[in-house]
């Protein structure tokens, strides 16, 4: 498996970790260790996070499902349907499993706005499932902004009273925001857990190796910002701060990981960051694109002021 980078703790203990990795690999090969089980629940969301993981590369999705873990449940992918599918889901209770949740949890009217299946004849709400599996899992990962922070599902007026997984569970939940979560972020986090144990987390339980630096700090267009050269429409190759770019307040590594086999990312696409990986998305990030902000020379752009200061 590819060794995750960007993590100081991991770097300090590389040899130990590689030894551990070797032992685990040997154990799997000779049958004394089995792969850890993963339950992937899609709650109140768009299923875009499981789709995003299918876009992973190095490791890719096939490597994830054949070499890294056993996915025991996924509404999008499971061959079984109906009762046998739910029996398989509930079979993990009592043993070790990693719970991955995408989508927020609708709590209004006892959660009737998202039903994930029927077990023993009873409809299981996303709210039920979060409690049943969230309290019993070895590790809980909230993948995507809806699971990590409520996201679009909780946008005003929050019609189904959606909350994040962490809001619901009293145990720590690892949060991987992003709309969707970039597969590089998920794979690095899961890989770190499997190979080296828990990655270093920030105060909001985001892995620092991913969410430690703002987009703005590593933006390839930073020199335009520093020089006060701003775009007035999309498609221009300069800084989009004046169009409403949320790079300065968004902690994640898009400029490094980029998207879709690293071929592009929103700023390289000449569009502003809309802060989809930052807490408060979308309500505190709108308008996403704003043509009404005064341009440099009109009312004094911040970049210019900083340079002058």
């Amino acid at each position: 498996m590819t060794k995750p980078t960007y993590n100081s703790t991991a770097d300090c203990t590389t040899k130990l970790a590689l030894d551990l990795f070797g032992r685990v690999r040997e154990g799997i090969a000779n049958g004394t260790l089995s792969k850890r089980k993963v339950v992937w629940l899609e709650l109140t969301g768009c299923s875009g996070n499981i789709i995003s993981q299918m876009n992973a590369e190095f490791p890719d999705f096939a490597y994830l499902i054949t070499q890294m873990v056993d996915i025991v449940y996924s509404n999008t992918l499971l061959a079984k349907e109906g009762d046998p599918a739910m029996d398989q889901l509930f079979s993990v209770l009592g043993g070790d499993f990693i719970l991955v949740i995408e989508g927020a949890v609708a709590v209004k009217d006892d959660g009737v706005y998202t039903i994930i299946g029927r077990y023993s004849g009873q409809r299981i709400t996303a709210l039920n499932a979060s409690h049943i599996f969230g309290t019993r899992a070895s590790i809980v990962l909230a993948v995507g902004t809806c699971a990590a922070d409520g996201g679009i599902s909780a946008a005003f007026p929050n019609p189904t009273e959606c909350v994040s997984v962490q809001d619901l569970l009293s145990r720590p939940v690892i949060r991987l925001p992003g709309c969707p979560c970039n597969p590089a972020w998920f794979m690095a986090t899961l890989g770190h857990i499997l190979l080296y144990g828990m990655p270093e987390l920030d105060e909001f339980n985001r892995p620092r190796m991913i969410y430690g630096t703002t987009i703005h700090d590593r933006c390839p267009r930073r020199s335009y910002y520093d020089s006060g050269i701003f775009a007035s429409r999309l498609g221009e190759e300069t800084c989009m701060y004046m169009l409403g770019c949320r790079g300065p307040i968004t902690l994640t590594d898009c400029p490094i990981s980029r998207w879709n086999q690293r071929i592009n990312w929103p700023v390289q696409d000449s569009t502003p960051c809309i802060g989809c990986a930052q807490f408060g998305f979308p309500d505190r990030m709108e308008p996403f694109i704003d043509y009404t902000v005064p341009q440099a020379g009109e009312a004094g752009a911040q970049g210019n002021q900083e340079n002058q200061g």
Binding site: E42, G45, C46, S47, G48, I50, I51, S52, M54, N55, D60, F61, I65, T66, D70, V72, T76, L77, L78, A79, K80, E81, A85, A106, D109, D110, V112, Y113, T114, I115, I116, G117, R118, R123, G151, S153, P157, P159, T160, C179, R233, L234, G235, E236, W259, N260, I263, N264, W265, P266, Q268, D269, S270, I274, C276, P282, P287, F288, D290, Y291
Partner: protein
């Protein structure tokens, strides 16, 4: 008579329950129930109109470019923006990439496990299912399940070349796309499309026909009403004309032009407050009413001149006359595979017309008052976004998705298309009713898109249908 309930219906986008009534192994009644409600139309009210392009994509993680396209088109009309020829080419090219991703994933990841025995792992366990292919054919398609992952991924990578990222792209926008396509971008798209084409022609099409060969009875199952509808796509280009399909309907055995004024929604058996029971998209966004008597679903019932219509690849291929083999579960699967190849041809034609380094963007001003609609066919079928702007913000945003057409509830007069498609189907083994899922998945349902809610413990109206 016995009831069969399948919940979850896995391998679709979103959450669904199906309940059927069976007698003598024949399905007499069927209900399709969307089990998720998010309320996007409520959220959009009061937001900046241009934000809808990015906001509405979050309805659906598998067809995000579809919502971006419909929303951009609706806003262009409302804002009075004339999209340039180059802008249209670039946006349509990017939209096609999402079709490729959708169709390949739908066939291999969502459909194939119904017919092909996959390797022994928890994800693919399917004891007691009806697998018929001889090992060499079965194993070839099972191998392609894994090979296809790199190809459908490539569909999203192609979408990101001009879209920035996928799912939920930034590049499709009012005016076309945001990024001027460089020579490097265009060359990347050409080379990636070649890889996708090789897979579609050498694996996906033969595999679809192999499924058809061993499961031939599905050419006679899952028909529905036989009404077909499309809003048109890849059509009416100045200089190129129509490369795919114009806005058309097939009702009563003949093709007619589509008149958008004939589209309405009905809530006779859906959990929405009345009046009105029937309304046109600009009229109102109806309010949820989970306690409504005699209702059984939050899936509304879109109708065209009162007719329930099928939308999607088969509808498009049927309307253009390119595919008239029949209307059934298997015809839908074959049409989707054939359409994938056809879309690659359209992709090549459009790409040849692109002039590198053209910035199609402008600064846009949102009017105080405006209303218009973006109607376009997407991977799953006809998608409509209706937008009304008041005081410079969104006053009404109505979305009718393809899956709302295909999985609609019943009106006073008619069932939904997918419900109708289940009627009369023969279920061989009541303990293992594989036929139901196979028929439903042929529509490629996306309940995330339908954004509906279920009723807690609600009683469905029982259909009495004589087989």
């Amino acid at each position: 008579m016995s009831q069969i309930i399948i919940n979850p219906v896995t391998r679709i986008s979103g959450m669904m329950e199906i309940e059927v009534t069976v007698e003598n192994n024949l399905i007499l009644d069927a209900k399709t129930d969307g089990l998720m409600f998010r309320g996007f139309e409520l959220m959009l009210k009061g937001r900046p109109p241009l934000d809808a392009v990015y906001f509405t994509q979050r309805i659906c993680g598998i067809c995000s470019a579809a919502h971006a396209t419909a929303s951009s088109m609706g806003l262009e009309s409302a804002l009075g923006v004339t999209v340039s020829e180059q802008g249209r080419y670039l946006r349509d090219i990017t939209h096609i990439c999402d079709f490729l991703q959708n169709h390949i994933r739908h066939f291999y990841q969502l459909t194939v496990p119904d017919y092909v025995k996959l390797p022994d792992m928890p994800l693919f366990e399917a004891t007691g299912r009806d697998f018929r292919m001889p090992p060499p054919v079965n194993d070839r398609i099972a191998r392609h399940y894994f090979d296809s992952l790199a190809i459908s991924r490539l569909g999203h990578t192609m979408m990101a070349v001009l879209g920035g990222k996928a799912p939920h792209c930034h590049g499709i926008y009012v005016g076309g796309v945001t990024k001027p396509a460089s020579t490097q971008d265009l060359l990347a798209l050409r080379s990636m499309a070649r890889d996708v084409r090789a897979f579609v022609e050498e694996a996906m099409l033969p595999d679809a026909y192999a499924v058809a060969q061993y499961y031939g009875e599905y050419f006679h199952m899952g028909g529905g009403f036989g009404n077909m509808l499309s809003y048109g796509c890849f059509n009416n280009y100045p200089g190129l004309g129509t490369l795919y399909v114009d806005p058309l309907v097939w009702i009563g055995g003949a093709v007619h032009p589509l008149d958008p004024a004939g589209i309405n929604e009905n809530t006779a058996t859906a959990f929405y407050r009345e009046p009105p029971a029937t309304y046109t998209p600009f009229e109102t966004v109806v309010e949820a009413d989970p306690g409504k008597p005699d209702a059984y679903s939050f899936i509304k019932a879109p109708r065209y001149l009162g007719f329930p219509c099928e939308v999607g690849p088969l509808a498009r291929m049927w309307l253009t006359g390119e595919y008239r083999n029949g209307i059934s579960a298997m015809d839908r699967t074959i049409a989707r595979a054939l359409e994938t190849q056809k879309l690659l041809n359209i992709f090549d034609t459009l790409l040849e017309r692109v002039i590198p380094d053209t910035n199609v963007q402008a600064e846009y001003t949102v009017p105080r008052e405006a209303m218009d609609a973006g109607l376009v066919d997407t991977s799953r079928g006809a998608l409509g976004h209706w937008i009304r702007i008041e005081d410079g913000v969104i006053a009404l945003y109505q979305i009718i998705t393809p899956s709302a057409w295909n999985l609609s509830s019943q009106t006073q007069d008619t069932m939904g298309t997918a419900e109708q498609a289940l009627l009369g189907a023969h279920v061989a083994d009541l303990e293992n009713p594989v036929e139901i899922g196979r028929i439903i998945r042929s529509f490629d349902p996306c309940v995330s898109c339908a954004t509906h809610v279920h009723t807690p413990g609600g009683q469905g109206r029982v259909w009495k249908v004589v087989p």
